[in-house]
């Protein structure tokens, strides 16, 4: 009798939750269609020029590539180690600072004292104008800096894994999450302690660009460098994960860590490989976004972190392609939303996209596919 009633109640509540779920999905679809129609009518009506839309799209794609690049590392560690790493944003900053210090020392050697060059003009006497770094005028320094950013971030992630996360491997995700918040604070303010807290320009000199025929937008050398490097790295990750034994081992570990260990997969080595790949991509992303925006600050990685989380959740945690795709979507959402809303709400728009995604499809667009 009692179980009968409970059965009815359960069926009822299940039915109600389905009814409650559908309208939300429907609502999102309707809103998307309405926005698309409005966009077209704005273009046809002339209240939005093709040029400004093209600029929004270009900026969004560039931001999206960087978010995707940084998001792949976050997504991999999330699925394999089982916690959202809140220190990820500060890995981005660390990589950028290490890389740009190298670039400055190489590019400005002899003109400004090495001590000031190392501090990037955040404090000290070096300045973007006196050092004059750009991918055209000092290509060697930029390449060296990019390599340094990758190497330094890999070393940093491995060191922090050894000190903080490895002793906690068996604990649940929430404890690791809280530990990562501690790591994030310590890293961010160590950077602030060494470099200072101002936000100076970092690149100097004139940067050549090419005009895209027809639309009238210009793509400058730094944007092109960023796009080429980011796409190259993402393709590289795809090849590694798809065609090597390491990729298979990672998928196995993300799926079931104990089973993976029982089957003889060296789980610690896989974890280390995850940090190496994820950390390397993160460092590169930090260096490249600084090259493109032309400014640096001790907390810029932390500011980016929520957007990266949004991308990773949008794509589905653990899915590398999801992170790339989610990055592009979030990047586009935060620039194209300028068509409708004032500029101080663009970040809000990106966060709202993430929250709606969690409501509609918590597993993400590429959910169910882990690490590949």
């Amino acid at each position: 009798m009692c179980t009968h009633i409970m059965g009815i109640a359960e069926t009822y509540s299940r039915g109600r939750s389905v009814v409650a779920e559908r309208p939300l999905t429907l609502l999102v679809a309707v809103v998307c269609v309405l926005l698309a129609v409005d966009l077209v009518s704005k273009l046809l009506g002339g209240s939005l020029s093709v040029l400004s839309l093209a600029v929004f799209l270009k900026d969004g794609l560039i931001l999206g590539l960087v978010i995707g690049l940084a998001g792949v590392g976050l997504s991999m560690t999330y699925s394999i180690l089982g916690f959202p790493n809140f220190a990820h944003g500060d890995y981005i900053s660390s990589g950028a600072f290490a890389g740009w210090a190298t670039t400055y020392v190489i590019a400005g050697f002899g003109t400004v004292s090495v001590g000031d060059l190392l501090l990037l003009g955040v404090s000290g006497d070096a300045s973007a104008g006196s050092v004059g770094v750009s991918v055209v005028s000092t290509p060697l320094a930029v390449v060296a800096g990019l390599v340094m950013a990758v190497v330094f971030t890999i070393a940093l992630t491995l060191l922090i894994d050894r000190l903080v996360y490895k002793p906690m491997r068996d604990q649940e995700g929430i404890s690791l999450l809280i530990a990562s918040v501690g790591v994030a604070l310590a890293l961010r303010y160590l950077i602030a302690f060494v470099f200072g807290t101002s936000r100076p320009g970092i690149t100097g000199g004139s940067i050549p660009g090419i005009a895209v025929p027809g639309v009238g937008i210009r793509i400058n050398a730094h944007e092109a460098t960023l796009a080429i490097c980011a796409i190259g790295l993402l393709v590289g990750v795809h090849v590694v994960l798809q065609y090597t034994k390491l990729g298979t081992a990672m998928r196995a570990m993300a799926d079931n860590r104990d089973l993976a260990r029982v089957t003889g997969i060296p789980t610690e080595r896989v974890v280390r490989a995850t940090w190496v790949i994820g950390g390397g991509l993160t460092g590169a992303a930090g260096y490249l976004i600084t090259l493109e925006t032309g400014t640096i600050a001790f907390d810029f990685g932390w500011v980016l972190l929520l957007l990266i989380f949004a991308a990773v959740i949008l794509g589905g945690i653990g899915s590398v392609y999801g992170a790339m795709f989610g990055g592009l979507l979030i990047g586009l959402a935060s620039t194209v939303s300028l068509v409708w809303i004032p500029s101080d709400f663009t970040t809000v728009a990106a966060f709202l996209v993430m929250i709606f995604m969690l409501l509609v499809k918590p597993s993400g667009l590429f959910g169910g596919v882990t690490t590949a």
Binding site: V164, V181, A186, R188, F193, F195, F345, F351
Partner: protein, 443 residues
């Protein structure tokens, strides 16, 4: 101060009251010694201790509210700062004068109590909005959503779009990045005939109290600040009583059951989702009130006061004390405020006063370069000058240390049991002497 604490203490189990008072006493002694070493006079000492007590009380308030969500129901909310902001801003917008002085932001001009209740209700409603995804998501997703929500809230208050706007003919606004003025602190009305302008004259009580403390060498602002701090301490007591009542009620037992094993709780016929939403809303309302009591008392609030770092401070306070324990939350708040928040600045002042390190070098590399000539002075001076950054590093390191080594907080395992009756007493009665342990692990 002491009478309020004693009144609260009388209601606490002996052991916990002694612990809380012991921690406060330890902090007071420590800072009095530090202050005397710095050469502070009686007024300086009084205002130092007031600062310590103020921050200990506000962090205790917020840690208690977070403990309800995380410690009792296992809901990981890292948007504390956002819910505080909703509370304070709603209160400020409701109470700001309809026609403000030049440069002010117009509001609805309602009485203070309407503003406070409105702020708590608004925070609870926003909490319900956040709890919606909480129902179907894992704890780590909820963490990201609440962090995102707190940033959405801060960016919205920071936006120039809502600097001033009008709804149904009434003008109001958020003041954007310049902030919005908050009502005059009601404790002023105890001492002054016109609370907003102390120069206009004092009440009888004001004359008497100020006259008495004048003989001790304490000025009017110190006395007013202490009065408000005592109000905060009383609120800590009220929060504590409320949450203890909630925790021991049938409602609280379901929450603890959800925390331990949600599947079991729902198999027993409890609608766990509804319990979670209610808990989340109550916690958010308390965070809103905590925000009002803290930032609402500072005359002006702006969005920069509600950065996510505030949330992490509250988390550290809770983790120091041990999540799941109300006593732990209060002690954690006090220890965080005293040792991590105020401590480093005092140590810096003391070192700067006693040791002459010369001028601090301008940059880190200059300080390091001096090491080459075996001179540690410049690096020390640079470190002391930039102690505000190192304080955050210290906070981060402490957080990692606690999670790794003392995940149950300094007091050890103090999670309250989910059972209705005290298991400890039962055991003692059965002759199994339990030593000093008051709580028994139910896992």
């Amino acid at each position: 101060m002491s009478s309020a604490t004693e009144r609260v203490a009388a209601r606490l189990p002996d052991n916990d009251a002694v612990l809380i008072l012991g921690v406060l006493f330890g902090l007071y002694v420590g800072f009095t010694v530090l202050g005397m070493a710095l050469g502070l006079d009686i007024a300086g000492l009084a205002s130092t201790l007031q600062r310590i007590t103020f921050f200990a009380a506000v962090y205790a308030l917020l840690a208690l509210a977070l403990n309800l969500q995380w410690g009792y129901a296992g809901l990981l909310n890292i948007g504390v700062a956002g819910f505080m902001a909703v509370g304070v801003y709603t209160m400020a917008m409701l109470t700001a004068p309809a026609s403000p002085a030049a440069g002010g932001v117009p509001g609805l001009g309602l009485p203070l109590w309407v503003g406070v209740v409105g702020g708590m209700v608004a925070a609870a409603l926003v909490g319900a909005l956040a709890a919606l995804p909480a129902l179907r998501l894992k704890a780590d997703y909820l963490a990201i959503v609440t962090l995102g929500l707190s940033e959405i809230i801060r960016l919205t208050y920071n936006s120039t779009t809502f600097q001033t706007f009008s709804i149904a003919g009434a003008d109001l606004g958020t003041g954007a990045s310049q902030g919005i003025q908050t009502p005059t602190n009601p404790v002023m009305a105890l001492y002054y005939t016109t609370p907003s302008s102390p120069a206009a004259g004092k009440t009888g009580l004001g004359e008497a109290v100020f006259g008495f403390f004048k003989t001790l060498g304490l000025d009017e602002p110190v006395v007013v600040d202490w009065t408000y701090t005592i109000v905060l301490v009383i609120f800590v007591g009220l929060f504590y009583l409320l949450l203890t009542r909630v925790g021991n009620s049938p409602f609280g037992r379901v929450l603890k059951a959800i925390r331990e094993d949600e599947l079991v709780a729902s198999s027993l016929g409890k609608n766990t989702n509804r319990f979670k939403i209610k808990t989340f809303m109550l916690g958010c309302a308390l965070m809103g009130l905590g925000g009002i009591l803290w930032q609402g008392s500072q005359q002006l609030v702006n969005p920069a006061l509600f950065l996510p770092i505030i949330t992490f401070y509250v988390f550290i306070a809770l983790i120091i004390g041990g999540s799941g324990s109300n006593t732990g939350s209060v002690i954690g708040g006090a220890l965080f405020a005293g040792l991590l928040f105020e401590g480093p600045t005092f140590v810096r002042r003391l070192v700067q006063q006693t040791v002459d390190l010369g001028g601090a070098p301008n940059t880190f590399t200059d300080a390091i370069a001096a090491l080459g000539s075996l001179d540690v002075g410049p690096l020390l001076a640079y470190t002391l000058a930039d102690v505000s950054s190192l304080r955050f590093v210290l906070v981060g390191v402490v957080l990692v240390y606690l999670v790794q080594n003392r995940p149950d907080g300094l007091l050890g395992h103090r999670k309250e049991t989910a059972a209705a009756v005290s298991l400890a007493r039962e055991r003692t009665a059965a002759g199994q002497a339990d030593g000093g342990e008051t709580e028994v692990d139910d896992e």
